[in-house]
Amino acid sequence: MQKFANPHVFVKLATAILPYVWALTAILFVIGLYGALVTSPPDYQQGETVRIIYVHVPASWLALMIYSLMAVFSAVALIFRHPLADAAAKSAAPIGAVFCFLALFTGSVWGKPMWGTWWVWDARLTSMFVLMLLYLGYIAIWRAIDDPHRAASIAAIVALVGAINVPIVKYSVDWWNTLHQPASVFRMSGSTIDKSMLWPLLVMALAYTMLFVALHLVALRGEVFLRKIRNRRLAEVRNK
């Protein structure tokens, strides 16, 4: 991790591996989509709408994983003062936020044919909604503070406090949901996922993950250059 502390080294590395990451992403998506839309069977209860699972579940997993990653980056930034760590957290946030929104949107679109309403306050969607708020708050705090070093410290604290909150919220919303359990229990097709559905799901999850890696590298590289430009501009003003 020490060699990545030099932004210059990171940029070279990122530029070198990006084409391969993009290529892998594309391949995985092609295979995954083929499995999702062509080979996997419709559900005996839900029909074709079960296919939404292949875009909903990976988005949810990524939304959660990216936030955890942001928390780890933030901890590294605060504790080790690693120069790229706060930039890594900052650049991951919009990506996670978009995935979180997609999870909510696809979940809602899935809910309408399945439960008859566009929104349901079930444990999962509610927790996702709170996660969305956490993402928005984190992005907002970066934009609210002018000084980048101060913003980095404050944002890191916000991310860590939020991260502690995530499992607590999940637990509390699960609890709340069982207290107010509706009469019927909604389950996906069968109690276990059939193999014909599992492999497209895993491939799509991998595809989304590779997509995140590519996007994060691009975003981080962009952030590194933006900071470089800002520092140069400041140096110009100072030297005038």
């Binding site: 708020l133 907002a140 609210a144 101060r150 410290s153 404050i154 406090v161 919220v169 637990y171 509390s172």
Partner: protein, 220 residues
């Protein structure tokens, strides 16, 4: 330890004098009037949502007054001085947050349930609601302090505070209401209170740490 008690007394005196409680109570009363006006006077409906409304009022009222915990001392430089004393800054921050609870959160927690009678709350629920709100308001004040600290240097931080703190309030709200209404479901009563207590204890530890770190970042 004497300096911390001295600070606590100062905060308590300032808190009671500055009247943040007045605004908070006013807000609570406004909410109590507006809810029946917007939903209709159906007493059965009101009695069902009353605990929720009272908790919402408590939550929002505490949030509204969160800025006064650090704002003034931050702006006039006293906070800066406090970081340079021998007492750990985290303890100082804890004292300030606790003072906010004593002067705002706690009184609101005591006042809200009887006001709930206007929403046709079941009077036999009052003791449980009081207990739950006493615990919950401590957590709420501690979390509000985090919001105040993280936005201390910002000019118009109040909206951002809400966005940052409301997700933290979700577990407190859920377990607080579960505990409040548990007289109707006795087997959930002890677990809800236990978890509420655990959350309150957690905030007592996490809040000073987070607040101190955030304030130091602004003071650098």
């Amino acid at each position: 330890m004497n300096s911390v008690t001295a600070l606590l007394m100062r905060e308590l005196r300032l808190g009671t004098r500055q009247g943040g409680l007045g605004t908070a109570i006013g807000f609570l009363l406004a909410l109590i009037v507006l809810v029946p006006l917007s939903l209709g006077p159906d007493l059965a409906l009101l009695s069902r949502i009353a605990p929720g409304i009272m908790w919402l009022g408590l939550l929002l009222a505490v949030l509204l007054t969160s800025e006064q915990i650090f704002q003034q001392d931050f702006e006039d430089g006293s906070l800066d001085l406090m970081t340079m004393t021998a007492t750990p800054f985290e303890l100082i921050v804890l004292a300030k947050a606790l003072a906010h609870w004593f002067t705002v959160g706690l009184p609101l927690a005591l006042l809200a349930p009887p006001l709930g009678l206007m929403l046709n709350i079941d009077a036999t629920q009052l003791p449980t609601i009081w207990a739950a709100m006493l615990l919950g308001s401590l957590a709420l004040s501690m979390l509000a302090a985090i919001g105040g600290a993280v936005t201390a240097g910002l000019r118009r931080g109040s909206l951002l505070v809400s966005l940052l703190i409301l997700p933290l309030y979700v577990p407190v709200l859920i377990f607080g209401i579960a505990a409040s209404t548990s007289s109707l479901a006795p087997d959930t009563s002890l677990p809800s209170f236990a978890i509420l207590l655990a959350i309150a204890m957690m905030t007592l530890v996490i809040s000073p740490l987070a607040c101190a770190a955030a304030l130091k970042a602004y003071l650098r």
